[in-house]
C-alpha cells in the first residue's frame, strides 16, 4: 500500500469514528423530535376513520358514483347497514359518529340513532329503514359528506385551517361568516409577533448602544439587569406581569394613590398586556446579540466618516448601522420566530380575543378533540417557523444561534 492509500484509509476511519460519535444523538433526535413532528404532518392529511369504519359503504358509493344531488341506490344503504352492525359489534360507532360530526355538526346524533334502529332490523329493504330512522338520510347532503371523507388521505383539515370547507356537492367554498376564524388568528399572531419584534428592536437597540459605549466594568454590571430577567423563569415573569398589571395591581395602585385616575385601568386580559409582557420576555434576545456585535465594531469607521465631512446622522445611518445588521438580524428573527409560537403568556395575560395560533392548536387537541385540524394548524405554523429558520441559517448561521 502506498502512502496515498494509507492516508486515505486513515482519513476514512477517522471520519467513520466521528459519525459513530454523532449517531447516538442523531438516533435519539430522530426518535424524540423528528418522529413526533412527522406524526403531526401525518395526522394533518391521514384520516382513515370513515374508510376503515365503513369500508363497504365507501366501496358501494364509489361503484355507484352518481351525481351528488341524487340519493344513492339500495345497495349503498344495504352496505351502510352492514357496516353499522359491524361497527356496533366492534364498538366503533362512537368514533365514526364523532368524525362525521366534525365535518357536519349534528351528524353524530343522526348516525348514533340510525345505528340503533339498524341494529334491531335483520334484513332489508334498507332505504325505508334509514329514511324512517332519520329524515336526513333522504337528503343527498349526508351522502356527499360521507363521500368527501371516503379517502384516507385528504386535504379537509388544511381547508378548515384556511377557513374553507368541501361542500356535500364536492366543491370547495368559504366557511359561513361566523365560522371563519383561523385566517384572522394567523393574522393576529403575525401582528402580535411583528409588534413585539418592533418594540424589542426599538427598546433594545439604544440600550445595546449605550452598553457598548460604556466602560467595560459599568457595562458588565448593567448587563446583569438584562441577564437576570433573561434567566428568570418564563412563568415567573408572566406571573410578575399579572401582579403588576391587574386591577388591584401595582400600576393601578400607584396611579390611584397619586390621584391621576379614579377608576383602575384594564391592563390585563387584553392585547396591551400581552404585548407588554411578551416584549419584556423577549427583549434580551435582541439586546444580547446586538450588544455583542456592537462591541466588535471599531470606532475608527465612524470617526473616519465624520472627518470626511459626514454629519453625525449620516455617519450613524450609513456607516454604523450597516455594521450592526448581523446582530439585528439575529435578534429580530429570533424574537419573531419565538413570538409566533407563544402560548403561555397570552393564555395567562390575554383575554379570549388575544389568543394566538398555538392556543388553538392546543384547544383543538384538548377541548374540541379535532386532532386533524390541530395538526393542520400546527403544520402551517411549523412551515413558517422552519422557513424563517432557513432564512436565519443563511443570514446569520445556525451556530451563531447562541444564547450568549
Amino acid at each position: 500500500m502506498n502512502l496515498d492509500q494509507r492516508m486515505h484509509k486513515a482519513e476514512n476511519s477517522s471520519r467513520w469514528r466521528a459519525y459513530a460519535m454523532i449517531a447516538p444523538l442523531l438516533l435519539f433526535v430522530m426518535l424524540s423530535f423528528v418522529a413526533p413532528l412527522g406524526m403531526i404532518l401525518l395526522n394533518s392529511i391521514y384520516d382513515p376513520v370513515v374508510p376503515d369504519g365503513l369500508p363497504h359503504t365507501v366501496a358501494e358509493l364509489q361503484a355507484w358514483a352518481g351525481p351528488r344531488d341524487q340519493l344513492p341506490p339500495e345497495p349503498v344503504y344495504a352496505a351502510l347497514a352492514y357496516d353499522m352492525k359491524k361497527a356496533a359489534q366492534e364498538q366503533q360507532t362512537g368514533s365514526i359518529a364523532n368524525r362525521l360530526n366534525i365535518e357536519k355538526p349534528g351528524l353524530r346524533a343522526v348516525f348514533m340513532k340510525t345505528s340503533r334502529v339498524v341494529a334491531r332490523q335483520d334484513n332489508g329493504p334498507w332505504t325505508p329503514v334509514f329514511e324512517t330512522a332519520d329524515p336526513a338520510w333522504s337528503q343527498p347532503e349526508i351522502w356527499g359528506t360521507i363521500r368527501n371523507l371516503s379517502s384516507p388521505v385528504h386535504s379537509l383539515f388544511f381547508l378548515s385551517a384556511l377557513d374553507l370547507h368541501r361542500q356535500p356537492d364536492g366543491t370547495i367554498a368559504q366557511q359561513p361568516k361566523d365560522q371563519r376564524i383561523y385566517i384572522s388568528i394567523y393574522l393576529r399572531t403575525l401582528a402580535v409577533a411583528l409588534a413585539v419584534t418592533f418594540l424589542c428592536i426599538v427598546l433594545g437597540f439604544p440600550l445595546a448602544y449605550m452598553l457598548a459605549h460604556l466602560r467595560d466594568k459599568t457595562a458588565n454590571l448593567l448587563l446583569i439587569f438584562v441577564l437576570i430577567p433573561f434567566w428568570t423563569s418564563l412563568l415567573v415573569r408572566t406571573t410578575a406581569w399579572t401582579v403588576v398589571l391587574q386591577e388591584q395591581g401595582l400600576i393601578n395602585s400607584l396611579l390611584q394613590m397619586s390621584g391621576l385616575i379614579a377608576e383602575p385601568l384594564t391592563l390585563v386580559f387584553n392585547r396591551v398586556g400581552v404585548i407588554i409582557a411578551m416584549t419584556h420576555i423577549l427583549l434580551p434576545f435582541v439586546i444580547l446579540p446586538v450588544y455583542s456585535v456592537m462591541q466588535q465594531i471599531p470606532t475608527t469607521y465612524v470617526q473616519a466618516a465624520r472627518s470626511l465631512g459626514a454629519s453625525s446622522l449620516v455617519a450613524f445611518f450609513r456607516v454604523y448601522l450597516p455594521q450592526c445588521m448581523p446582530g439585528l438580524n439575529a435578534g429580530g428573527l429570533l424574537v419573531f420566530v419565538f413570538a409566533l409560537g407563544y402560548y403561555i403568556t397570552p393564555s395567562l395575560i390575554g383575554g379570549s380575543a388575544d389568543q394566538l395560533i398555538a392556543y388553538f392548536v392546543s384547544y383543538n387537541i384538548g377541548t374540541s378533540m379535532n386532532w386533524g385540524l390541530a395538526s393542520a394548524l400546527a403544520t402551517i405554523l411549523l412551515a413558517a417557523v422552519l422557513l424563517l429558520y432557513t432564512v436565519y441559517d443563511h443570514l446569520v448561521g445556525h451556530n451563531r444561534l447562541t444564547i450568549r
Partner: protein, 264 residues
C-alpha cells in the same frame, strides 16, 4: 458639542428606562412572597414566611418540586452525554453533511413547544409512553440538546487538535487521548451546556401539560394551575425559589468562567 451632550443624556435616560422596565417587575414581585396577606396587595402591611412554609410543607408542592428535579436531572444527563459525544464527532475537520446535521440538532430551539408537545403526544401515545415521566424526560432532553451541542462545539472550536495528535503519537489510545486531553479542556463548555439544559427543563411547562398525567405535576405546572385557578401567594414563594436557584446558577457559571480565565 452641546447637541451631542444632549444626545448622550437622552440615550442614558432611554437606556436607563429600558433597564428599569426589564428588572422592575421581577424586583417588585419578589417582596410579595414575604407578605402575610392572602392576596396580592400593595403596599405590604405585615411580613411573614407563611407562603414559604406552605411551599415546603404542602405535599402537592413538594411532589412537584421532586418531579421537577428528577425530570431536569435525567433530561440533562441524556442531553449532556449524547450532546457532548456528538459535538466531539462534529469537530472532525472534514465531515460531509455536517451543516445539515448541525441544523437538525439545533432546530429544537426554534420549534414552538406547543408543536413539539403535540407531536410527542401523538407519537408517544402510539408507543404507550404518554402520560408518564419517561415521555417528558425524552422531550426535555431534546430541548436541552441544542444548548449542549452549541456550547461544546464553541469550546472545541478553540481547542488545539495538535494536542490530541501529540497524545496519540506518544502512544495514547483514542479513548485515553479524549478522556485525559480533550475532555478537561472542553469541560467548561460541557458544564455550561448542562446548566442551560437543566434550567430549560426546570422551567418548561407546555410539554409537561401535554405529556404529563395527573401524577406528573412539576413546579412550573403547579404554578400554571395556580395562576389559572386562584392567585395564591404560594406561587410567589415558588417564583422566589426559582429566581434564587436560577440566579445562583448564573453566578456559578460566570464565576467558573472567570476562574478558568485566571487559571489560564
Amino acid at each position: 458639542m452641546k447637541t451631542s451632550a444632549l444626545y448622550t443624556t437622552l440615550l442614558y435616560l432611554f437606556g436607563g428606562s429600558v433597564l428599569l422596565f426589564l428588572i422592575a417587575p421581577i424586583l417588585l414581585v419578589l417582596p410579595l412572597a414575604f407578605s402575610n396577606a392572602a392576596y396580592f396587595h400593595f403596599p405590604i402591611e405585615t411580613y411573614s414566611l407563611r407562603w414559604f412554609r406552605d411551599l415546603f410543607s404542602n405535599p402537592v408542592w413538594l411532589h412537584a418540586i421532586y418531579n421537577s428535579l428528577l425530570i431536569a436531572t435525567l433530561a440533562t444527563l441524556i442531553a449532556t452525554l449524547l450532546g457532548t459525544m456528538a459535538a466531539v464527532g462534529l469537530n472532525h475537520y472534514n465531515l460531509p453533511g455536517k451543516r445539515f446535521i448541525m441544523a437538525v440538532l439545533i432546530a429544537p430551539i426554534i420549534v414552538p413547544y406547543v408543536i413539539l408537545a403535540v407531536g410527542a403526544y401523538f407519537f408517544f401515545s402510539k408507543l404507550g409512553i404518554a402520560n408518564n415521566l419517561l415521555g417528558i424526560v425524552l422531550v426535555h432532553a431534546v430541548i436541552g440538546i441544542p444548548f449542549v451541542v452549541l456550547t461544546v462545539t464553541a469550546t472545541l472550536s478553540v481547542f488545539d487538535m495538535k494536542l490530541i495528535h501529540a497524545a496519540r503519537s506518544l502512544g495514547a489510545s483514542p479513548w485515553t487521548a479524549f478522556w485525559h486531553v480533550m475532555l478537561p479542556a472542553v469541560w467548561p463548555g460541557v458544564a455550561s451546556g448542562a446548566v442551560f439544559a437543566f434550567a430549560t427543563s426546570f422551567d418548561e411547562v407546555v410539554i409537561v401539560l401535554f405529556l404529563g398525567g395527573p401524577e406528573q405535576t412539576t413546579l412550573p405546572r403547579q404554578m400554571w394551575t395556580g395562576l389559572r385557578e386562584h392567585l395564591s401567594p404560594t406561587i410567589l414563594s415558588a417564583a422566589f425559589v426559582l429566581i434564587v436557584v436560577v440566579t445562583s446558577m448564573l453566578l456559578l457559571l460566570t464565576l467558573r468562567r472567570h476562574r478558568s480565565i485566571i487559571n489560564r
